[in-house]
Amino acid sequence: MSDRTTDATAQAAPKQGLNLLHLLLEGRAFFALIAIIAIFSFLSPNYLTASNALTMTSQVAIFGLLAIGMLLVILSGGIDLSVGSTLALCGVFAGWLMQGVELQSLGVILYLPVWAVVVCALAMGAFVGAVNGILVAFLKVPAFVATLGTLYMARGAALLMTNGLTFNRLSGDPSLGNTGFEWLGFNRLWGVPISIFVLAATALAAHLLLTRAPFGRWLYSTGGNARAAELSGVPVRSVQVWVYVLSGICAAIAGLVLSSQLTSAGPTAGTTYELTAIAAVVVGGASLMGGRGTIRGTLLGAFVIVYLGAGLVIIGVSSYWQTVFTGAVIVLAVMLNSIQYGGKGFKL
């Protein structure tokens, strides 16, 4: 147990313990990304153009946001399968609010300003996360069962909210003062899509949370050895609840960005996105046993997955292959991680 604690500290402060293993592990995702970019730019002249790189990176934004939330959960030793459904539910909820909420008792239709819509959608994400967290931390439901349950509940709720249809009037009306929803997905700052800034800001915040705040230390120790952490006075249960809440909020941000990019909110958005998010986290070298992993690695993982997927599409490989390959990449990355960490293997 002691070596694991050392390792967790090493990750919390990378400058102190630059062990070779860790370097190699982070290097693997990085070299894979370089190789992917090199191979696809060789195969297709359209791959490494500035516009395609920006398009791909704004796609990274969606999966990167989900993966950051997923990393926090995985660091605590859990898993969150509900992120794709939460993304859809929050997108649809925002869309529903943008259409105007009819208050029948008052006989008025309430149009919220965009900032209030965003806050409500984030609150919805936090709520779904809180349900997951309470189920896992206090009711001791295994994480993958609890979040599989909320996966279906959130999807069902999203379908109910729209009756299976898609909201596509998200641009708002100047006379109602609720325009500007597309800003998140469409506008550019210095030629770079806003969504990329959103990802960068979230990643920076999460990085600081993990490396500079007590919460980060608590999280690494909870995932490393929950029992020892509890005995040392770490509020293990509330840490567990918070990681799911944060993951829900990340999914909500991703849902807002996605529906803003598409200018529509559909209840089937984000199906199987949880797979891609998990893939990004494990490619980034995080251990599914908890306690090991970094934001940098996870971001690299998200870039690897998206750039590879986009490259395959550009050279004309069927998108069905991507479904096959996401599954294979997850299993392969987990195997490589377990070899790298030299562990004796996993238990469910």
């Binding site: 069962v145 199987t272 069927s318 599954g327």
Partner: protein, 330 residues
Amino acid sequence: MNTNADTQDFKARAADYGQRYGILIALVLVCAALALANEFFLTQRNIINVLRQASINGILAIGMTFVILTRGIDLSVGSVVALAGVVSASLATTSATAGVAGAPYAFYIALSLGILVGMVAGWVNGVLVAYFNVPSFVTTLGMLSAARGLTLLYTGGRPVPSLTDEYRYIGTGDLFGIPMPIVLFAAVFVVALVVLTSTRFGRHVYAAGGNPHAARVSGINVKRVRMAVYIISGALAGLAGMILAARTGSALPQAGIAYELDAIAAVVIGGTSLSGGVGRVTGTLIGALLISVVNNGLDLMGVESYYQQVIKGMLIVAAVMLDQARHKHA
């Protein structure tokens, strides 16, 4: 086995009996309530309908019981249902475009191939879980994605239509007036019951799930047992996929989405513990029937299918919470 293990075994068994009758009582109560609320519920046609609906999920849940007894989980069954369905259907179709060269083949060739596809998928899961120590939910989540992708690749996203009548017999035919899906479900149940309660392999499954270390020390090849349960689960998923295809007359690449949830729910409601080693296939049977009755009841009362999804999600979480509570007592 030492005396300590015996007492633990006794306690677990006592808790298990309570659960078993509890779930049976729940089933009877739900049936009684539905019979009172809706005069159509107790008609012969509806009862056959409930059993037929339970059969596919029941077959999957029986395979899942084996896996869960060894502390594993198989999230890939829904995708394997689709993969085995389309592969075997492509051998049994009279359509010139959707079939493989030389189709239609005899139904037994098509059926064997479907089972084989399921077993191969299960074997891959089993090898990764047992020999490479990849957590079962990650492995089977990967297989969920991979098998669905392969299904779409194999069919190009199009259904495989026009299956031969012999092939369709396993879905639409009957034996002594009982529909074939129910007959097959009953047969699978009886075999599973015998295997788990009266064979050496069955005892090994319980031992490997209850305490893998102790099982290994007592000379059980735990890795092989763990691999075998995924193969069983895959084979049964293949069978379920073919029954589904035969019933609808064409194999759909989108078949079986979210079926893993129903199967897990049936197993957990039936009293099998997710921590392994404790559970009965009889409980799984009752769990599958209960889910089917609840679905049927919601249908009869005209509840929207979207609500059913929400209710199902809650049902499984509630069942697992009960499981956890029971463990505290045991």
